[in-house]
């Protein structure tokens, strides 16, 4: 093939330009560490990377929700545990009060103690969570759920549950319906108090001791439920952390370059660039004009 001067020089320019561009691209990949910087670099990879990013961001949110749920459950557990202690004290008072050797004055003093236990129980029932929400109010968490009217405890909350989204297809009830447990406990203590004031020792030993025990069992059951949920949250948290890690490495696999490969590519491109420059500098020196004298 006949090579024209213009074509010869154009091909040098094209060779140098192309090689320089490949060096630049390889250098960008090494510098940014990214294989995909725009969708056209790998449209399919971009789509999967977007899906993985979305999944990752969502899971990060679910993990934040788990923290909220843990707060509510933890505070509830503490209140129920305190209430449980109150009931233990009530149980001990009942055992003491059932003893016939006590004087009526001593029993009245015990009744005083029961009143104080009742007041503290109401405080427990109106306990607030980390953000000031009333824990045992159903969904009506913005007002005190329990008030004492006469000798009974009145519940002003509702029977609805507070639900927290814990995953793409899972959610968890984080509140404990306090009305059955706290009302029951309050009533049992009230009965003990009345029997102490009335000196009905028989009734104390026949009913109150057993009932307080049952009431305490009820509290313990609720605490058990919370414990199970806390365990489930812990598992979900671990699972989420692992999935976030998996997704991070998945996104990296798609978007990031294999560094050793990138550096090899860069060196190769550099060598090709040098070769193109050498060829051009040698080639341009050659001309028939160098060999003929004018």
């Amino acid at each position: 093939m006949r090579i024209s001067t213009n074509y010869q020089f154009n091909s040098y320019t094209q060779g140098i330009d192309g090689a320089a561009q490949r060096v630049f691209e390889a250098q960008m990949r090494v510098q940014s560490g990214k294989r995909i910087t725009k969708p056209s670099d790998d449209p399919v990879g971009t789509t999967s990377s977007l899906a993985m990013r979305a999944a990752q961001t969502s899971i990060q949110q679910y993990s934040k929700n788990l923290t909220t749920a843990k707060g509510t459950l933890g505070y509830s557990e503490t209140s129920l545990s305190d209430a449980n202690d109150l009931l233990t004290q009530g149980y001990q008072i009942a055992v003491q009060g059932a003893n016939s050797s006590n004087s009526q004055e001593a029993r009245s003093a015990l009744a005083q103690e029961v009143t104080s236990l009742q007041n503290r129980l109401v405080d427990m029932a109106n306990a607030q969570g980390p953000k000031g929400d009333y824990l045992f109010a159903g969904q009506k968490t913005d007002a005190k759920p329990f008030t004492v009217t006469g000798n009974t405890l009145t519940y002003n909350g509702d029977g609805n549950n507070v639900v927290v989204e814990t995953g793409a297809n899972s959610s968890m009830v984080t509140n404990t319906q306090g009305s059955p447990t706290f009302s029951d406990a309050y009533d049992r203590l009230e009965s003990l108090k009345q029997n102490l004031l009335n000196g009905s020792i028989g009734s104390i030993s026949a009913n109150d001791i057993g009932n307080l025990q049952k009431s305490r069992d009820l509290m313990t059951q609720e605490r058990g439920v919370i414990g199970t949920k806390m365990q489930a949250l812990q598992d979900l948290d671990t699972q989420n952390t692992r999935r976030i890690d998996d997704l991070t490495s998945g996104i990296s696999d798609i978007e990031d370059v294999d560094m050793s490969q990138a550096i090899t590519d860069y060196n190769l491109a550099n060598t090709a660039y040098q070769a193109a420059l050498t060829v051009a500098s040698q080639g341009t020196k050659l001309s028939l004009m160098n060999f003929i004298s004018g």
Binding site: P39, S40, S49, L50, A54, S58, K140, D142
Partner: protein, 465 residues
């Protein structure tokens, strides 16, 4: 019988002929860098010999003369280059337009629409976990605003790109007109030169170069006329004929890919113009997708939010603005109007988290958070995030296809160029060696002339004695 000075005539004609050859070589060297230039060669022809009787018949050659100066050109390659130019022009215009669109997406990364969709649904999930937390509501408001701004911003960025491509269409039509005028003018000059029997090589080169430039802009067909001019057509539309340059229609429609004027509508099938039409149509289709995304976000989110009750007891409220604009009455549709409801925009606490008005009822927020994984019928049964990812994937595929096609067409054009250059390009080495040859020939002819002069002079001096 030839006269005594026959030999001097022959030598001086040879000197003239070699001088012409050197002139042509000089012209070739001078145009080594001229685009579209075809190297020229002088064709030499020996003069008719004369026959005379000198005892018997003798035929003696009559010397040499330049019979023509022609350009070396392969017309078949030129036609192939025109069609390659049209394809290259089309894919280059498409690639240029779509890469700019791609850059506006800012994907993949943490700052595009995809991320703001996820964060929008996350904010609802967060609100569902703390329904009466004012901060969570402010977060929902902010996330909704960001999402609306990004979708609207992308739509406007696409509008900008569309406007840029449209102005390029106007430029391209002006460019076509200007090339058409140039070609018609050169055609006239060529016709005049040809009429007096000349071979206007350089004018033809210039004309052919203009035709090649034009072929990159639109799909043209050429037809050579016997008088040396070329007629140019774009399918049914005549651009240049014996009547001269025609006015290129300047009304265009990208959707149908046509130019039109009072006389008719003309299809554009390739070239830069077609590439610009294609990329405008692609941009329009991306905008349709964004409209669809915005419309479905608006209706789906509002439908759920309207069933909620906010902390002030308000219900039936929209989250995204869907109040028709009055004067002129236009429904709030598409991405261009995508924004928060004015109430929500003014006060985040008007956002409804639940249905009952209870402080910790997060059922609406939960339902809205669940929308993230819901497949929407109007979005090809894809979730919001998937639908947008599909759009990003589509843009990526379009750009990489256009780029691949541009790369292919570039190598095709380069391949043909190298063949054209091989035939028509000037090689300085060739010209140098030709120059030496012509110089030596000239020197020999001069020497011959001086010898003849010497012999004639000897003869005259002899008679003087």
């Amino acid at each position: 019988m030839p006269g005594s000075f026959q030999a001097i005539n022959t030598a001086s004609q040879a000197l003239r002929a070699f001088q012409r050859e050197l002139d042509v070589t000089g012209h070739n060297i001078a145009n080594v860098d001229t685009p579209g230039y075809s190297r020229q060669v002088a064709t030499l022809q020996s003069f008719n010999p004369t026959t005379f009787q000198d005892g018997h018949a003798i035929t003696l050659g009559g010397g040499v003369a330049v019979s023509a100066v022609n350009r070396v050109r392969d017309m078949f390659l030129q036609a192939r280059r025109q069609s390659a130019s049209a394809d290259l022009g089309q894919s280059t215009a498409m690639q240029d337009g779509l890469s700019r669109v791609e850059a506006t997406l800012q994907e993949p990364g943490g700052s595009g629409i995809a991320d703001s969709i996820t964060k929008f649904f996350n904010s609802w999930s967060s609100l569902s976990a703390s329904p009466n937390d004012p901060t969570s509501k402010s977060q929902v408001q902010a996330a909704g605003q960001t999402l609306a701004d990004k979708v609207r911003g992308e739509y406007l960025a696409l509008d900008d790109q569309k406007a840029q491509q449209s102005s390029l269409v106007t430029n391209a039509i002006q460019g076509i007109q200007s090339q058409v005028n140039t070609i018609a003018k050169l055609n006239d000059q060529i016709r005049q030169e040809k009429a007096i029997g000349a071979e206007p090589n350089d004018l033809m080169d210039q004309r052919d170069q203009a035709v090649q430039t034009l072929s990159g802009m639109a799909d043209i067909q050429t037809q050579a006329a016997p008088d040396g001019s070329v007629n140019i057509y774009m399918n049914q539309l005549t651009l240049v004929d014996s009547g001269g340059a025609r006015t290129v229609p300047n009304t265009w429609d990208a959707t149908t890919g046509t130019l039109s004027d009072a006389n008719g509508t003309y299809e554009v099938r390739s070239g830069q113009l077609k590439g610009l039409f294609d990329s405008i149509n692609k941009i329009k289709s991306y905008q349709t997708n964004l409209d669809n995304l915005a419309n479905n976000l608006r209706t789906q989110v509002n439908a759920i939010h309207q069933t909620g009750v906010n902390s002030a007891g308000g219900t039936g409220l929209s989250f995204f603005n869907d109040v028709p604009v009055t004067n002129p009455v236009t429904p709030q549709t598409g991405a261009i109007n995508f924004d928060l409801d004015p109430g929500v925009k003014a006060n985040a606490q008007t956002i409804a988290a639940g249905q009952s008005g209870n402080a910790s009822d997060g059922s609406i927020a939960l339902a809205l958070s669940k929308l993230r994984d819901t497949n929407i019928g109007n979005l090809n049964q894809r979730s919001f995030n998937e639908y947008f990812s599909d759009l990003v994937g589509q843009v990526g595929t379009d750009v990489s296809t256009a780029k691949a096609s541009m790369d292919t067409q570039t190598s095709v054009a380069q391949q043909i160029d190298s063949q054209i250059q091989s035939v028509s390009g000037v090689s300085l080495d060739d010209e140098m060696s030709n120059m030496l040859r012509f110089q030596r020939s000239y020197q020999a002819a001069a020497k011959a002339l001086s010898i003849f002069d010497q012999t004639t002079s000897d003869l005259i001096n002899m008679l003087n004695r």
